[in-house]
């Protein structure tokens, strides 16, 4: 099963860079997940101001430039997980949050192909 994991955190926490220790722990976890073949892809939010919304309503497409300061949570990063069960996805997510700290991970199962 494949899951998309979106990590969201408060703008305050997002603004504070992680410590070296936290970075090292995250590096170890990512290595372990890659070794297990679980981590298909992952990335953290780039340190730029580029974020935007593209919205379609009827025939109208509108672009709104970010950053979206009104948000209570901002996206910190994402991962695509390839696991055998929902419980396994939860388990890895717990391990991720142990490293990442306070925040929310939204896990959604995705299918591949049409």
């Amino acid at each position: 099963m494949r899951f998309v994991s979106i990590y969201k955190l408060s703008p305050d926490r997002f603004a504070a860079p992680p410590s070296e220790g936290e970075m090292a722990a995250m590096g170890l976890l990512i290595g372990e997940m890659q070794a297990a073949g679980v981590l298909v892809d992952t990335g953290g939010t780039a340190p730029t101001d580029i974020s935007l919304r593209v919205r379609r309503a009827g025939a109208q497409t509108t672009l709104t430039d970010g950053p979206f300061t009104e948000s209570k949570e901002v996206i910190g990063g994402y991962a695509v997980l390839d696991v055998q069960s929902k419980d396994e996805a939860i388990l890895w997510t717990r391990r991720f949050l142990d490293c990442a700290g306070d925040g929310v991970v939204e896990l959604t199962e995705v299918t591949t192909g049409p």
């Binding site: 890659q34 070794a35 297990a36 073949g37 298909v40 695509v80 055998q84 069960s85 419980d87 396994e88 939860i90 388990l91 890895w92 717990r94 391990r95 142990d98 591949t112 192909g113 049409p114």
Partner: protein, 419 residues
């Protein structure tokens, strides 16, 4: 947290953590069977304690700590003199206090995992035993899972595993990574086992028990782990590449009623592009290591040719024919020769392919192989030699093992009869 929830979490933890735990403990107790029991005991403790205490922050470390305590208890309980009578006791690493050196566990779990893979695929074991033990100890599958996946009775698998563990301990198979002189042969046994597991899953059609296709995932997962542990071996990466690319077609290769769709007729839009990317990357790693390419590298390279072609017409048959040529050098087998003939037929025309197929007709091992007749029929049909093609398709229908193939061959024979 309820016991049911704990059990579900533990099932997931088992899959992720048990191979590492069994591997680490095997080094200390020098017996994979004993190590597995210790780890199982630790999971039983977790099932009792976690509903109360919640899931520990690091489940693997928690379980390892419990398993270590169990190992010490076991040594205290069992009379050391008694233990010395047992052959395994010779190799146990003991402190001067007579207790096992459990701290050695934290040294290098990667090496232990590799040792466990090698011992599970040891040539002293039968192929069936290697497969069962690998799935049990490294894939985290239960005996009943393995039995269902291989369509055999559970007691048969249980027996196989018990006997395999006994064989390993009676033969005093050391828990170690083989030395340089043995390494290539032993690694080839490991790769063989993984590919057999993969093919067992791949051969299952969509209508089969879901556990059978899951074998593909298990084999892929073990292959990826192995590639991290043995990053310098070209064939390991090549096998991973081959499995990734084959797995990318798993949804496209059967239709809604479970009938197989031939590679060239598949809807390539349904191929899993992520697996293809992973496969091509693994193949690149295999090729970048240099040295002579092995059988998996050529097979992966052939699979990659198909994966890179956006339509069947874009397939680079010239390259595939050359790759089969190279494969036949390192893996001389009539089936490879037959595939080579198909590729040559596609690249250089049916007459060239037919010439190679005709050379295989005297091959005893292909006498009862329906694909030889089927391929020959196909080439004859392309050359408008319909009468001979019809005879070949009819012969193929007689030899075919399943109804689907038989029907297909009869249909093709009938079509030739009307030309």
């Amino acid at each position: 947290m309820s016991t049911v929830e704990t059990q579900r979490t533990l099932d997931a933890v088992w899959r992720i953590e048990s191979p590492k735990l069994i591997a680490g403990l095997s080094r200390i107790v020098r017996d994979v069977g004993v190590a597995e029991e210790l780890v199982q005991d630790a999971f039983v403790s977790a099932l009792v304690q976690w509903p109360e205490s919640g899931i520990p922050r690091n489940p693997g470390a928690w379980l390892m700590a419990v398993a270590k305590r169990r190992a010490i208890d076991r040594f205290r309980r069992e009379d050391v003199v008694e233990l010395k009578h047992q052959e395994i006791a010779r190799e146990i690493q003991l402190h001067e206090t007579g207790e096992p050196d459990v701290d050695a566990l934290d040294d290098d779990i990667g090496d232990d995992l590799l040792r466990l893979i090698f011992i599970a695929c040891h040539p002293v074991l039968s192929t069936e035993a290697r497969i069962a033990l690998t799935l049990r100890l490294l894939g985290g599958l239960s005996t009943s899972d393995i039995a269902r996946a291989f369509l055999v009775a559970e007691p048969v698998v249980a027996q196989r595993i018990v006997r395999a563990k006994r064989t390993l301990s009676e033969a005093h198979i050391p828990f170690e990574v083989p030395n340089a002189s043995e390494r290539a042969a032993r690694l080839s046994s490991v790769l063989g086992v993984l590919y057999l597991i993969f093919n067992e899953g791949y051969a299952a059609s969509a209508g089969d028990d879901v556990l059978r296709p899951a074998l593909c995932e298990d084999a892929l997962w073990l292959g990826r782990v192995l590639a991290q542990l043995v990053p310098d071996d070209s064939e390991v990466h090549a096998l991973v590449a081959l499995m990734e690319i084959q797995a990318s077609r798993s949804t496209a290769r059967v239709n809604a009623s479970g009938e197989p769709i031939l590679l060239l007729d598949q809807d390539r839009g349904r191929w899993d592009q992520l697996l293809i990317r992973r496969g091509l990357a693994a193949l690149e790693r295999a090729e970048a290591l240099g040295g002579a390419l092995g059988p998996y590298a050529f097979q992966a390279a052939i699979a990659a040719c198909h994966a890179r072609a956006h339509t069947a017409e874009q397939t680079d048959w010239t390259r595939i024919a050359a790759l089969y040529d190279a494969l036949a050098q390192v893996l001389p087998s009539p089936v490879v020769q037959l595939n080579r003939a198909v590729a040559v037929g596609m690249a250089y025309g049916a007459a060239a392919g037919l010439e190679l197929v005709d050379a295989l007709r005297s091959e005893p091992s292909l006498k009862a192989y329906h694909l030889l007749s089927s391929v020959r029929g196909d080439l004859l049909e392309k050359l408008s030699r319909f009468g001979e093609a019809q005879t070949e398709f009819e012969h193929a229908a007689e030899l075919a093992h399943n109804v689907r193939d038989r029907t297909l061959m009869r249909e093709r024979a009938a079509r030739c009869a009307h030309r």
